[in-house]
């Protein structure tokens, strides 16, 4: 896939970091404001997709990236299930129980394990959307050959 003009490249490089940080903000404040893992993860994936679209990439690089993103995704979703299982070991013996201290409502560090779930789900969603995007791009590259 070819890149775009120098203006697009430069602007996207400037914007991508900003979008990335905004995604992290949405994920970390998931238990306080609207948003959370899915929305933030989608934004983070958007930052990566913007960079790839603007700068272009060879099929070889894309294949390397897709294995990385799919590994990250599997690892993150595995961590979510492990977190859910961890609550079987701590405190009350139930699945998905909130075993950490709850803290004050409205604080950043509160709500027990929910921010942790948000973080891992954010990584998972970012990885998954990036994987889907890369897979479709690779399909298209291969069929246009």
């Amino acid at each position: 896939m070819e890149g775009m003009s120098i203006i697009v490249k430069k602007v996207s490089q400037l914007l991508a970091g900003l979008i990335f940080v905004y995604g992290i903000y949405i994920i970390l404040h998931g238990h306080l404001t609207p948003g959370g893992g899915f929305a933030g993860g989608a934004i983070i994936a958007g930052a990566f997709i913007l960079l790839i679209l603007a700068n272009g990439s060879s099929a070889l690089n894309l294949k390397k990236e897709i294995s990385g993103s799919s590994n990250t995704e599997s690892l993150a979703i595995l961590m979510v299930v492990v977190l859910a299982m961890m609550s079987l070991a701590f405190g009350v013996k139930v699945f998905f129980s909130n075993f950490l201290p709850k803290g004050e409502p409205g604080e950043l560090l509160s709500a027990g394990v929910i921010p942790l779930y948000n973080i891992f789900i954010g990584i998972e969603v970012a990885g998954a959307i990036l994987t889907i995007f890369l897979a479709l791009v690779i399909f298209k590259e291969e069929s246009s050959k």
């Binding site: 294995s67 799919s70 590994n71 599997s74 690892l75 979703i77 595995l78 299930v81 492990v82 859910a84 299982m85 609550s87 079987l88 009350v92 013996k93 139930v94 699945f95 998905f96 129980s97 909130n98």
Partner: protein
């Protein structure tokens, strides 16, 4: 024992993602890990089944239990009916996976196959256990999305085309189901199946709920491939890799189609006469048309797929008759027979249809064709495949002493007792037609003079495939024991109990 319930979903999920991660590092990891995790599930299902004494268990996710007798969290419910389904899913799942060990080695990206297989099992276990409408929808989507991918796994022209058709119709069905769930939530302000029942029994506006019922019937009817909604099934089930066809035809259409229909219409809605008649009529139509179309098929797996539609018709018809008899309320023994026969036939069908698809897979594995006209005389070359498929064919067409005979007999006796004479005659006639097209299958595949030039080069399939076929054939014989009154009492009775006393489900969850 309650703590084991969420593991039915968690173990296959974990193994799916572990397989994706570790199979790149460790060579052959997926081939060892996936069968063991499914075997563990099978043992858990058997353990719970032997220790579940006629009661149901509920499990509150995250400890969010009842608040003022109202459910506020997600519940998993396990009772007599769902444990039977869990047993079927995990037995057929394990055997099909074991069969895949050698069958699937001709494809690339093997580890993805095993991961998707684990996901499909996780989704179906979740559907069967879930006590919450929306949660049920999510698990249903998990299993059907992985089945879309598995149908297209061969990435040939036909596979992709079948998968696209399957996805468009499946997506339509999912939307109708989601709309129905939204409408139910609108009126009742709850999603828990037991709680919906309690709220509805306080009085409801009839047209609204009939609309919801029709939406649900269409949505899950599409998933179960009852006849006006069957268009995707012959393509999807015949194009998938054979172990997956066995899973789809044997288990998936029952777990996400029939099981949910029965659960919702018996335990959530107060069933009405109209819906009961619709069930019976749809069942009868699928029974008749499915078998008539199967008669003219020359593609082995397509023949088996149409035969699935026909056999699903038997099951739906049996449940429909049970509903009508229960509404009339004057002939309870016949209703018990009809419902029991339906559940029994459902178990049997998953066993023999699974076996038949595995046989078809064995033929395809050696001959690279599914066309009956290009086969013949294979009974000498492939003795195990031939004998097991003969047993399965006799079983599905209802010859004694195989399991299919007894379940069809029970359904026919129920029809006669309930004074549905036309349906009884139709059931017998269709059974004969079933025998006809399975005789055709047997004749052209195994006993006819062969058009093959190099018959002596064809050998029996490898050990994992033969052993899983033999295992299922033994199950075909063993399941006929369920017709004995004492065994029937122990195994099928809890399930019949749940469906007969339709309040039982909601009472055990919300006292």
């Amino acid at each position: 024992m309650e703590a084991m319930i969420p593991l039915f979903v968690a173990i296959p999920l974990i193994s799916a993602f572990l397989i994706v991660l570790l199979s790149k590092l460790i060579n052959g990891f997926h081939k060892i890990f996936a069968p063991f995790s499914l075997l563990a599930l099978l043992f858990m299902a058997v353990y719970i089944f032997t220790n579940l004494d006629n009661t149901s268990m509920t499990y509150a996710m995250g400890g969010w239990g009842l608040l003022n007798d109202l459910p506020i969290g997600i519940f998993l419910v396990l009772d007599g009916f769902s444990i039977l389904m869990l047993g079927i899913i995990n037995i057929i799942g394990f055997i099909a996976l074991f069969y895949s060990l050698s069958y699937i080695s001709k494809y690339t990206a093997e580890s993805n196959y095993y991961a998707l297989f684990c996901l499909i099992i996780a989704g179906m276990n979740g559907v069967v256990l879930s006590g919450d409408l929306f949660n049920l929808f999510v698990f249903l989507e998990v299993s059907v999305i992985s089945s879309y991918a598995l149908v297209a796994f061969g990435v040939g022209k036909t596979e992709l085309e079948a998968s696209f058709k399957y996805q468009v119709l499946g997506g339509l069905a999912s939307m109708l189901i989601l709309l129905a769930i939204g409408l139910i939530y609108w009126k009742t302000k709850t999603l828990n199946i037991a709680d919906v029942r309690n709220v509805m029994s306080g009085g409801f506006s009839r047209p609204y709920y009939i609309f919801v019922q029709v939406l649900l019937l269409t949505g899950f009817g599409l998933k179960a491939a009852i006849i006006p909604f069957h268009a995707w099934l012959p393509d999807a089930h015949s194009s998938a890799p054979s172990p997956i066809s066995a899973m789809l035809s044997g288990v998936l259409i029952k777990a996400v189609g029939i099981y949910v229909l029965i659960r919702l219409f018996f335990n959530m809605f107060e069933f009405t006469h109209e819906i009961a008649v619709v069930f019976t009529v749809l069942g009868t139509i699928s029974m008749v048309i499915g078998s008539l179309v199967a008669l003219v098929q020359w593609d082995v797996k397509r023949l088996l797929a149409y035969s699935s539609i026909s056999q699903m018709g038997y099951i739906v018809m049996a449940f429909g008759m049970g509903m009508i008899l229960l509404i009339k309320g004057d002939n309870e023994p016949a209703a018990i027979l009809a419902i029991g026969g339906g559940i029994y036939h459902m178990i049997n069908h998953s066993v023999f249809k699974g076996l038949l698809f595995l046989n078809a897979g064995a033929l395809e594995y050696r001959l690279d064709t599914r066309d009956l006209k290009q086969m013949g005389g294979l009974s000498k070359a492939m003795p195990v495949t031939s004998s097991t498929s003969l047993m399965a064919s006799m079983s599905i067409s209802g010859l004694p002493p195989f399991n299919g005979f007894f379940s069809k007999l029970i359904i026919i006796i129920a029809a006669v007792n309930g004074k549905f004479y036309i349906l009884a005659v139709l059931a017998i006639v269709i059974s004969i037609i079933t025998l006809a097209y399975f005789l055709k299958f047997q004749h052209y595949a195994f006993y006819n003079r062969t058009p093959l030039k190099s018959l002596d080069k064809i050998r029996e399939v490898p050990f994992p495939m033969t052993s899983s076929m033999i295992l299922l054939a033994i199950l075909c014989l063993a399941l006929s024991l369920l017709a004995l009154p004492s065994v029937n009492e122990a195994v099928l009775h809890p399930a019949i109990q749940v469906l007969m006393q339709s309040d039982l489900y909601s009472i055990t969850l919300i006292p």
